[in-house]
C-alpha cells in the first residue's frame, strides 16, 4: 500500500473505532497516522492533514477524560433501586430476613449508599439482623464518605441502650475499631464492656504491612469465625486469591490456633468487604507456622470461602 492509502485506511479505522466508543483504539490509529504524515514531507496538503489529525486526537483525549471522570456510582432512580433489590437477593423467598439483607447489600454494592442505609436502618430493628445490619451501616458510612459518620453512629448506638445487648455492641466496637486501626487512625472507641481481657484476645492483631488505600478493590478485608462453636475470632485478611483468603493468627493466641484445623468446616463466616458484611461458609485448607521474618511464630491459615 502506498503511503497515502495507508494513511487513509488508518483514518478510516480510527473514525470507526471512535464511533463505536473504542476511544483508546481510535486514538492509537490517529497517533499512527500522525506519525506517518510527519515522516513523509512529500505528502500533499501535509500541514492540513496534520492539523486535522491533531484536532481529532485532542477531541478524543477530552472524550477519554470525560469517560474516566464519569461517576462510577451515580444515584439511580427509586425504580431501578427496587429492581436491584429484587434481582440480587438470591435467598429462598421463605427466608425473609436473609432476602432483605441481601437486597440491601446489593444496593450498597451498586453504590446506592443512601438507599442501602435506609434499608439497613429498618433491618437493625430486627433481633436476628441487628449486628450484621449495624456493621453494614458502618461500612456504608465508610464507603460513602466518612469515617467520622461511622464513629458518630457507633457513639449514638452506645448511648441509646434500647436495642443492643452489650455483647452485640462489643462485637460492633471490635469491628469498627479494627477498621480504624487498619486505616491507622489513632482513636480508641469507648467500650460498654468493662473487662479488658475480652478485648485483648479478640482485637485483630495489628497489621504491619501497608493496606492499600484502594480498600474497595479488596473483596474481603476481615473475617469473623467461630470454630467449634467457641468464641468469635476476628481476623484480618492478608490477601485473597479468588475465593481463598489468607489470614494470620498471632502465635500467642494458642486457643484460636488449636481450634482451627485443616479440613475444618466453618458454617458462619462473617465476611466484611469494603461495601458489605455478609455470611458465608468456608473450609480451612491450610495452616502453617511461619518460621522466619517479623511474623515468626504466627500461623498463616488459608480458608476457602464457599458461598460468598
Amino acid at each position: 500500500m502506498d503511503t497515502e492509502s495507508l494513511i487513509k485506511s488508518l483514518l478510516k479505522e480510527a473514525e470507526l473505532y471512535q464511533s463505536q466508543g473504542l476511544l483508546d483504539d481510535a486514538k492509537q490509529k490517529y497517533d499512527n497516522a500522525a506519525a506517518l504524515i510527519e515522516k513523509n514531507p512529500e505528502l500533499e496538503n501535509r500541514q492540513d492533514l496534520l492539523d486535522t489529525v491533531s484536532e481529532k486526537i485532542g477531541a478524543l483525549g477530552s472524550d477519554i477524560d470525560k469517560v474516566e471522570k464519569a461517576s462510577k456510582s451515580p444515584e439511580l432512580s427509586a425504580k431501578v433501586q427496587d429492581l436491584i433489590k429484587n434481582l440480587f437477593a438470591f435467598s429462598d423467598e421463605k427466608d425473609k430476613d436473609e432476602t432483605e439483607l441481601e437486597g440491601a447489600i446489593a444496593l450498597a454494592k451498586f453504590g446506592q449508599f443512601d438507599a442501602a442505609l435506609a434499608e439497613f436502618n429498618e433491618l437493625i430493628k430486627r433481633d436476628s439482623l441487628r449486628v450484621v445490619a449495624a456493621k453494614n451501616i458502618l461500612r456504608c458510612h465508610i464507603a460513602n464518605a466518612s469515617l467520622d459518620d461511622a464513629v458518630a453512629q457507633y457513639g449514638q448506638w452506645l448511648s441509646s441502650d434500647i436495642v443492643f445487648s452489650s455483647q452485640q455492641l462489643e462485637s460492633i466496637r471490635i469491628f469498627l475499631q479494627g477498621i480504624l486501626d487498619r486505616k491507622r487512625i489513632d482513636k480508641r472507641l469507648p467500650s460498654v464492656v468493662s473487662s479488658t481481657h475480652f478485648e485483648a484476645v479478640v482485637t485483630p492483631s495489628h497489621v504491619e504491612e501497608e493496606i492499600s488505600e484502594d480498600e474497595e478493590f479488596l473483596d474481603i478485608t476481615l473475617i469473623g469465625i467461630r470454630p467449634k462453636a467457641g468464641r468469635l475470632i476476628e481476623l484480618d485478611v492478608n490477601f485473597q486469591r479468588g475465593n481463598t483468603i489468607s489470614v494470620l493468627i498471632p502465635g500467642r493466641d494458642k486457643d484460636s490456633i488449636n481450634r482451627v484445623e485443616v479440613g475444618l468446616k466453618l458454617d458462619d463466616v462473617e465476611c466484611s468487604s469494603a461495601f458489605a458484611v455478609f455470611m458465608a461458609s468456608g473450609t480451612v485448607i491450610e495452616k502453617t507456622r511461619i518460621d522466619t521474618g517479623a511474623k515468626r511464630g504466627d500461623y498463616r491459615v488459608e480458608i476457602k470461602i464457599e458461598s460468598a
Binding site: 470507526l16 473505532y17 462510577k72 439511580l76 454494592k109
Partner: protein
C-alpha cells in the same frame, strides 16, 4: 440459580451476556427487545453512564412460552465490560444458568476478548462453577465490518484464540442488523434448558 416451581409448572432462569467492553452485548439485548416484542415481558432496563457505557448491567425479562408444559421465563442480563467494573460484573454473574460470550471480531480487540474470557472463567470458578460445564455459546460479533474494509479476525483465528478448549457452539453475528442474534439466544436457551433438565428433571 434457576427458580423452578414444578407444581405450577414454572421455570425462571438467568442468562448473562458477557464479553469485553463495546463488543455488542447491549446491542444484542436491544435487538432482542425490538425483534421479539411478543416474548418481552417488561421494560428493558439499562444502567449506563457517560458515552453509553453500561455501568452496572442491562436487564430484559423474556418469556419463552410453554415447553413440555412448563412456562419458561428468562432474565437476560449484560455485564459492564470495562475492566474497572469487575466487582459489579461479578455480582451480575451470580446465579447464572447460561452464558453468551460476545467476542469482538475487530482485530484491535483480540487481546480484550481473551482477557475477558479468562475473567469469566475466574469469576465462575469463584462461584464454584466450571466454565467447561456451564451452558455457553460464543458469538463472533461485528462480522458486517469486513465489508467496510476494517481489519477483522477470521473466524478460524477467533476459534483458535477462544474456543480451542471450550468447544462451545459458535455464531457469527452482526448485532446492529440483528443477524445471528436470534440464533445465538436460541442455542443458549436450548443448552440452558437441557442443563436444567439434567439437574432437576423438570420436563418429566
Amino acid at each position: 440459580m434457576a427458580i423452578l416451581n414444578l407444581k405450577n409448572r414454572e421455570i425462571e432462569c438467568k442468562i448473562v451476556y458477557y464479553g469485553p467492553g463495546r463488543s455488542g452485548k447491549t446491542t444484542n439485548l436491544e435487538h432482542i427487545f425490538k425483534a421479539f416484542q411478543k416474548h418481552v415481558k417488561g421494560e428493558m432496563v439499562s444502567i449506563d453512564t457517560e458515552g453509553d457505557r453500561t455501568l452496572f448491567f442491562d436487564f430484559l425479562p423474556f418469556g419463552v412460552g410453554k415447553i413440555k408444559g412448563c412456562d419458561v421465563r428468562v432474565q437476560l442480563y449484560t455485564v459492564p465490560g470495562q475492566v474497572q467494573y469487575s466487582s459489579t460484573r461479578k455480582l451480575v454473574l451470580k446465579g447464572v444458568d447460561g452464558l453468551v460470550f460476545v467476542a469482538d471480531s475487530l482485530e484491535v480487540r483480540r487481546k480484550k476478548n481473551m482477557i475477558s474470557l479468562k475473567d469469566l472463567q475466574q469469576n465462575l470458578k469463584d462461584y464454584g462453577t466450571n466454565i467447561f460445564e456451564v451452558p455457553l455459546v460464543l458469538q463472533f460479533n461485528k462480522r458486517d465490518l469486513a465489508e467496510q474494509g476494517i481489519p477483522l479476525m477470521s473466524t478460524e483465528d477467533m476459534e483458535r484464540d477462544l474456543n480451542r478448549q471450550l468447544k462451545a457452539p459458535i455464531f457469527s453475528a452482526s448485532a446492529v442488523s440483528g443477524d445471528g442474534v436470534g440464533q445465538t439466544l436460541t442455542e443458549c436457551l436450548k443448552l440452558t434448558l437441557q442443563s436444567l433438565q439434567r439437574q432437576f428433571n423438570w420436563a418429566e
